[in-house]
């Protein structure tokens, strides 16, 4: 039951005025009061609770429960205590409010009348939009992918001299600088490191399992073979867990020393085998050659971290 604006308000003993406004509760979103503009006197606007409405016999008329005298007791509307719904945001207000005098219709323009294929035009618009976007997909993909896949770098780098390594079966770090040329940038010198172990035959056996280790390029061709009986073994400085840099450390549990990665605490022995922590595979052996003077050269291979198999990245 919702009263119409401009309906006449009638008490049990006579007509008192017209409904000029309605008041809405912002939380329940229901009409709480009607405002009746008096016919008599100073044409006061009085606020009548919705519960006072007895019935709405027709669209033009509202019957109140009160008498004319009682109607005069209802409070006068204080307009400054209210805002209009245009100045207020109430969710789903329209769904709860039906004070307009019925539906308001707007005709289609003359040219639009009798256009039966409005949905066809709508679909066409979307289709043409998609067709505009389509030719961009492949070029954009290729555009962003340009530097993502690079041929492997099989260059040899000199990293130091094995004469410095005095003891067997401990990790010895060689820091080296190498040129790094990326896309349009001038070549930059970056610092890297590898770990070299002067391995006893047992450790060599643990690393190579008696077999020479072959290294391949992207075509599968062999670029280098590490001999299984070579005394020096070089490990990539990149931790195979998630790519941090590990160190050679002596700890309480491993007084002889182990390779320890400070990131996620992976621990490897002198043969690079995982002894503790979350690493999925052993340290990566690098292609390495040592000349008669003891100078160490390596190919700076990088493998993907975090996987059991060695997947070459660089």
């Amino acid at each position: 039951m919702q009263p119409k604006l401009a309906a006449k308000a009638r008490c049990s003993d006579g007509e008192v005025g017209k409904i000029s406004k309605v008041i809405l509760d912002p939380l329940s979103r229901e009409i709480s009061h009607v405002v009746v503009s008096e016919y008599s006197g100073q044409r006061m606007e009085r606020q009548v609770p919705i519960s006072q409405i007895q019935e709405v016999p027709n669209e033009e008329e509202v019957v109140l429960r009160c008498s004319v005298a009682e109607f005069g007791q209802f409070p006068v509307l204080d307009r400054d205590g209210y805002v209009t719904i245009h100045d207020l945001e109430i969710a789903h207000l329209e769904d709860n409010l039906h004070v307009e005098p019925g539906e308001i219709l707007v005709p289609y323009p003359r040219l639009e009348q009798g256009v039966p294929r409005r949905s066809f035009f709508a679909n066409m618009t979307h289709a043409i939009g998609a067709l505009i976007a389509l030719p961009f997909v492949y070029p954009v993909l290729k555009f962003v992918m340009k530097p993502m896949y690079r041929p492997f770098d099989n260059e040899w780098f000199s990293v130091g001299n094995v004469n410095k390594i005095k003891k067997e079966n401990i990790g010895y770090q060689f820091k080296f600088r190498r040129g790094f040329k990326e896309v349009f940038m001038p070549e930059q010198q970056i610092e890297k490191n590898i770990w070299v172990v002067k391995a006893t035959p047992e450790v060599r056996k643990a690393v190579y399992e008696g077999k020479d280790k072959k290294f391949h390029d992207e075509k599968g061709d062999i670029v280098w073979v590490n001999k299984a009986n070579a005394p020096y073994i070089g490990f990539s400085g990149k931790c195979p867990h998630l790519g941090c840099g590990y160190k050679w450390r002596r700890t309480k549990n491993y007084p002889d020393g182990v390779f320890l990665c400070p990131c996620h605490l992976s621990i490897y022995d002198e043969a690079g085998k995982v002894v503790d922590g979350p690493a999925p595979r052993a340290l990566d052996v690098l292609p390495m050659k040592v000349n008669a003077a003891g100078e160490v050269k390596i190919i700076d291979i990088e493998y993907k971290a975090g996987v059991e198999k060695q997947i070459r990245l660089l």
Partner: protein, 370 residues
């Protein structure tokens, strides 16, 4: 109350200009609509988090734009230009440190905001989409933190990115592509800076602005949820409009957060480590504190090995986010009182405890390493 003025005085020039604009734009209606939003059950401090987030973001934009006046996103200049900002540019240290601590404040506020919405049961019908868009915004805030972290190009930045990208690489099917896409190559370098930079200063801000707009629009459409206790009469008696009481609480909260960020910038200004290089030297890589719990989680043996790592770094966080996303659709009971939703309360406490315990143990582990 527009259109209800007493024509006592002739309008002055300023009022004429305002009226001119208002007639064409409808500013007064817009302003009135924004300010006169009924807050069921009345304003509360707990409702300030969303506004504070918007405030922090705006200042991140301002400080971020200023930093770009000097910053050069390249491997040979990123570090030097950041050092220049810190040591040479007047108040550069302050603006950079503000931006740095602002990002932490953003993450803290996101957690507070999400917790409030969760505990109040405000994600439930009809606010499911507000919640979903909010989750996307959470992802964007974390992505902001991750991409911004690389830009100074010091050792901290470099190694956090190396590990972070390796983690993303573990995503099934698209992981390798995603990691190469972000790195712009097989290993981090110039292309990584370029990509992180453009994502940090163009892609993410655009995404955040669009989604935050949608978030607020959907929120206004559904209306505020209000408290989870109280009869309709009690709520009605305490209801007020967004202005002035809630705005007052919001502005006080914003000012407090602003002061805290400024203090942190003064007390702990940003200091860079050595310039980034693939040799960590003596540095023990560590992510920003809000990723520490995840970092510590990955130290556990059960998250070791190829599968364990996938479990810990992709499956578990992914499942947690998926759970949050479907939450409004599986938790369809209209009950919003957190004390009558024991599973939700216990779940929230457990997640917070987990984050706390793992963060603290990561910090304790630092001593063990040195």
């Amino acid at each position: 109350m527009s259109g209800h003025q007493d024509p006592v005085n002739e309008p002055n020039v300023f009022e004429k200009v305002v009226d001119f604009v208002d007639e064409r734009v409808g500013l007064k209606t817009l302003q009135a609509k924004m300010l006169n939003e009924p807050v069921p059950g009345g304003s509360r401090w707990a409702y300030a988090f969303g506004s504070v987030l918007l405030f922090i973001f705006i200042l991140q934009v301002v400080t971020g734009i200023l930093l770009m006046f000097y910053y050069v996103p390249s491997t040979d200049h990123a570090y030097a230009s950041t050092q220049y900002i810190i040591h040479e540019v007047d108040y550069g240290w302050f603006l950079l440190s503000y931006h740095f601590w602002g990002s932490s404040a953003m993450v803290v506020m996101v957690f507070a905001h999400m917790s409030q919405v969760f505990l109040w049961g405000a994600y439930k019908k009809p606010r499911e989409l507000v919640w979903l868009v909010g989750l996307a915004l959470f992802g964007i805030v974390m992505a902001f933190g991750f991409t911004g972290y690389l830009l100074p190009w010091d050792q901290r930045a470099f190694w956090a990115t190396v590990v972070g990208v390796e983690i993303m690489d573990k995503t099934p099917l698209i992981g390798d592509f995603m990691a190469r896409f972000l790195k712009g190559g097989p290993t981090p370098g110039q292309m990584t800076i370029s990509r992180f930079f453009v994502i940090h200063v163009m892609v993410l801000p655009a995404a955040l602005m669009g989604l935050a707009g949608l978030h607020i629009f959907l929120f206004r459409k559904a209306g505020p949820a209000g408290p989870f206790r109280g009869t309709p009469e009690e709520l009605k008696a305490k209801t007020d409009y967004f202005f002035p009481r809630q705005i007052w609480k919001d502005i006080v909260a914003m000012a407090s957060v602003f002061l805290i960020i400024c203090s942190l910038a003064f007390i702990e200004p940003v200091v860079l480590l050595e310039e980034a290089t693939p040799d960590p030297g003596d540095y023990h890589p560590e992510p920003e504190w809000y990723f520490l719990f995840l970092f510590q989680l990955l130290r556990l043996k059960i998250f070791g090995g190829e599968f364990g790592q996938f479990l810990g770094s992709i499956a578990l966080p992914g499942a947690f986010m998926a759970l949050l996303a479907v939450l409004p659709f599986i938790d369809t009971s209209p009950e919003r009182n957190i004390f009558k939703r024991p599973a939700s309360l216990i779940g929230w406490i457990l997640v917070m405890l987990m984050i706390l315990v793992f963060t603290v143990s990561a910090i304790i582990n630092r001593d063990f390493l040195d």
